[in-house]
Symmetry: C2
Subunit: 121 residues, 2 copies
């Protein structure tokens, strides 16, 4: 196996979804194949309208979500859906993240074994 | 138990270490209580000098690391160490991240159960 020249570069952590507001948006969408409204997302993710708009543009541009506008009882309504590609990239990202957490926890434990000062009291 | 008004706000994901370059730096440092040199970190994290300097300043300002300069065989050497506080905040962050991964994976599975189109072929 070749030696990884930069084991902590974490190239697999896609910046588009690693950003924490976008991570929240995509996680909220992943269990809702029927989509969520703009107002639902504001509430679920604790974002302002402006912030949510900005993050949705980034996600749309990268192919993660589709944004559609419709009228419901004469009131405009914006629906956001995760695309099939977005869903797959999110699952891939979660796999990498899980590995990062496992690796970091193991490294923290190794340090405790070799340096008793670090052990919890 | 009160209902979380914004379950996907992920307030526990500390922005200082969630950024992926800094996540790599802190993970590299967590198993090295004796510290790492600036040059080690460049190699391990795949960062340029300028990028590493910038991220180390953010980490130092937030109290995560200490940066010390010394001479070794007449050559200058910069050493970076994780502080006790930085270590604890990193462990807290990992706990939140683990929960995020678990929650997101569970939500993705729920979607597959309710929508057969999402199931892997």
């Amino acid at each position: 196996m070749p030696i990884d020249p930069a084991p902590f570069a974490y190239d697999g952590l896609d910046r588009v979804i690693h950003e924490k507001a976008r991570l929240g948006i995509v996680t909220a969408l992943v269990s809702r194949p029927e989509g969520l409204s703009f107002n639902d997302l504001i509430r679920l993710c604790g974002l302002t309208q402006g912030n949510l708009s900005r993050h949705l543009s980034v996600l749309e541009e990268a192919g993660f979500v589709t944004i559609s506008k419709a009228f419901e009882s004469r009131r405009p309504r914006t629906d956001i859906r995760l695309t099939a590609e977005g869903r797959q990239r999110f699952l891939d990202y979660l796999g990498v993240l899980e590995q990062v957490v496992r690796d970091a926890s193991a490294r923290a434990e190794t340090a405790e074994m070799t340096d008793p000062k670090l052990r919890p009291a």
